[in-house]
């Protein structure tokens, strides 16, 4: 790592409207119990008129407040989203304007699901050049769900929301130790969203690769730091599906209770989920791991040390 970087704070925002399994089940010819057993999800939030940038801005403000800094102090803004409303510019420019920034560089990462871990890893390696970096991931997956006739396998999963993290060279809450990122473009068509088309998800292939690559990525970064999975105090991953989270724990040989999960409340909010989870997370001192996997296929893992 070229510079020691720290994660100072997380932030999150989810819309007010709660969509229960019972509400969805009535539209999907299934039962609320089946939705929960297939995904671990009990409810999710769906935005109304709010845009991806609106969600992102709210999470950004929450994170800046928790970190105790002003937007004007930011040196770089990274916004991940796979559900932005237009081709360009992406939501990052709108978020910057909403935060009152008119010269601070912004980067859009059009990376669903793994967008948070990509943003966090990149930020941890760029802080030496840009100073305070705000990473945001925001998704309005309800527009994806409603973009076509409701499909049972995807409609049950997704929710809307945004998460954020402030990364800096100033010593703070989590010292970043290392991170790895990977992409396998051979699988790009197995999870894809084209303009004007419904979400395409080849579930078994996604699950096969996620079940292998998430533990492999985590194992890779832990080995580089000579840390055993058993010594990690807690893992926070992309909240894709509770069954997948449990699988990863099993593959790593750790108890499922080590995997922080809030998917029951918010569903799969794609790239936003890992940072939304981190904003509700209060790990004990010691090594912690962030990880994500998604369309691309992109995946990665970051190990940090919780210092209090």
């Amino acid at each position: 790592m070229p510079d020691t970087s720290y994660i100072h704070a997380f932030g999150a925002y989810v819309p007010d409207r709660v969509v229960t399994n019972a509400e969805l089940a009535s539209q999907l010819a299934c039962t609320p119990e089946w939705i929960e057993s297939a995904s671990g999800i009990r409810e999710r939030r769906w935005a109304g008129d709010e845009t991806v940038a609106d969600l992102a801005t709210a999470a950004a403000r929450d994170c800046l407040q928790r970190a105790g800094i002003e937007a004007a102090q930011l040196g770089l803004l990274i916004v991940a989203s796979g559900s932005g409303e237009r081709r360009f510019p992406g939501p990052a420019s709108t978020v910057a304007a909403a935060l009152g920034l008119n010269a601070t560089p912004v980067i859009d990462l059009p990376i669903a699901s793994a967008g948070s871990i990509f943003g966090l890893s990149l930020a941890s390696r760029l802080v030496g050049s840009y100073g305070e970096i705000l990473v945001i991931a925001a998704e309005k997956m309800s527009t994806v769900v409603h973009g076509a006739a409701l499909d049972q396998n995807t409609a049950i999963l997704f929710g809307d929301g945004a998460g954020a993290a402030l990364v800096s060279t100033r010593p703070g809450r989590f010292e970043v130790l290392d991170s790895v990122l990977h992409t396998n473009g051979e699988c790009r068509e197995d999870l894809a969203l084209n303009w004007g088309s419904p979400l395409h998800m080849n579930g078994p292939v996604v699950i096969r690769h996620a079940s292998r690559n998430l533990p492999a990525g985590i194992d890779e970064v832990l080995k580089r730091q000579n840390i055993r999975a058993a010594d990690v105090v807690q893992f926070v991953m992309h909240q894709a599906n509770q069954n997948l989270i449990t699988r990863v724990a099993k593959a790593l040989g750790v108890d499922a209770s080590r995997m922080f999960s809030n998917i029951a409340k918010y569903g799969n909010t794609s790239s936003a989920s890992m940072l939304i989870a981190a904003a509700e997370w209060e790990p004990s001192p010691g090594p912690v791991v962030f990880a994500g996997f998604g369309a691309g296929f992109n995946w990665g893992a970051l190990v940090a040390r919780s210092v209090r």
Binding site: N153, C187, D190, G203, P204, I207, R208, S211, L244
Partner: protein, 77 residues
Amino acid sequence: MRDRLLKVLQKVTGQPLNIGDEDSLFESGVLDSFALPDLASGLEEEFSFKVPDADLNPRKFDSIARIEAYLSEHAKV
């Protein structure tokens, strides 16, 4: 081959199989999207071959008869 296939299927599902050869394993709830990759891994190990991503499709593994047909075509049995 059949006994080895049933052994793999039972290990993946974790329960005794009470289903006809032509019955849908997915519609009956024996398999789902999470169990299919496990079934593929189990078959790969038992029959020493690879199930490519392109074949990881519920239709190809939707009944005991279909799995037998798939193994006859692709595996060393």
